[in-house]
Subunit: 212 residues, 2 copies
């Protein structure tokens, strides 16, 4: 499996396929639906069927030509490919509103992302909890990452401290960062950083509104 | 300009190009850099240059072959295409942590998204403010959308009330919805709905972590 050469947009779509198959398997109809054609997946996901076949072909032959994809096998295989068959330990830097919202976000735990700690530099927050998660001093983050074997760091601190926080996370040994701060963080290339920009989600809509 | 046939992934990338050009124009170097090649845009955005040329070609010939794209013109054109040359009135349904975080999110206002009101069904929240934004009773949302000419609704209510809230928004005349609730909302096809799923952002990372 030549994983490394797969474009990141394909990975995002694999996530969507996986989620769609899981939803089908959760419903009664899923038990009946043993085979799903790319056309049917296209209908559910809104992604065109040629793209779906191309994306899934990166990982070898799941489906039978003219028949379709076996739902249970494909779902399981995508889960493995996406690394969702494991649990991932996560920390959050920033105990503000977005940090609070993420702690309560049910989608994370369901998908195997376990939030192990929150970090902040505000002494009035340190030592308290958000939900059931303890808030630590940001100065302890390197050590915490090492001892707790944390894989992923989420940055929800203000823009002007985001780079420093990311550097601390990397110094602790983190390999992947999800950054919500509206700033470009510079890290060495072996660290995977994904910038979440919520206003990009909006812009898709205004494009369509401009057509009205 | 055949806007309607452009894939949504292209629209998302146009957003990224626009943001990247704006950033360049904000810096000193931007004034010097009058022309930018697709290779240079590729270097900055991480999107490959053939894809960039293909995306920009949807909107006619911006660049000169072998030379590149004029930074100021391209940025202005993308802004218009994306509907970012206008102000958009927005409401938020749900005065929880995510609602609070979105009110404070500076990226929105900067891009012309003006939050006009927040709506909730919790009587202990109604009549108060989040930041400088007033919290109204969700029952008033239809009327508010009409009188204030609201274009976009953001849904950050719990999953079990998301459909009802979306129906109310559409009844009020809203044409576009950004949904953060982890549920599939069913609306008539002329309404544009964009589902934000924060765990998809994570899955890109776990794929790469699985390669380590």
């Amino acid at each position: 499996m030549k994983k490394k050469s797969i474009p990141s947009v394909t990975i995002n779509r694999l996530s969507i396929y996986h989620r769609c198959l899981e939803k089908i398997l959760e419903t009664e109809r899923g038990e009946e639906l043993k085979i799903l054609s790319s056309l049917k997946i296209a209908e559910i996901t809104g992604i065109n069927s040629a793209q779906i076949r191309k994306d899934l072909a990166y990982f070898g032959e799941f489906g039978k030509r003219g028949l379709g994809y076996p739902v249970v096998d494909l779902s399981g295989e995508l889960k493995k490919i996406l690394g969702l068959d494991k649990k991932w330990s996560v920390i959050i830097a920033g105990a503000g509103n977005l940090g609070k919202a993420l702690v309560k976000y049910k989608g994370f735990q369901k998908r195997g992302f376990v939030i192990k700690g929150i970090f902040d530099n505000n002494s009035s927050k340190i030592g308290k909890r958000l939900g059931h998660i303890f808030i630590y001093d940001i100065k302890e983050v390197e050590k915490f990452i090492q001892t707790e074997n944390i894989s992923i760091g989420i940055i929800v601190v203000p823009a002007d401290s985001a780079q420093e926080v990311a550097d601390r996370m990397v110094a602790g040994g983190i390999k992947a960062i999800l950054n919500f701060a509206p700033i470009h963080i510079v890290l060495s290339p072996e660290i995977k950083i994904h910038n979440v920009d919520l206003s990009i989600e909006f812009e898709g809509l205004t494009y369509y509104l401009s057509l009205c």
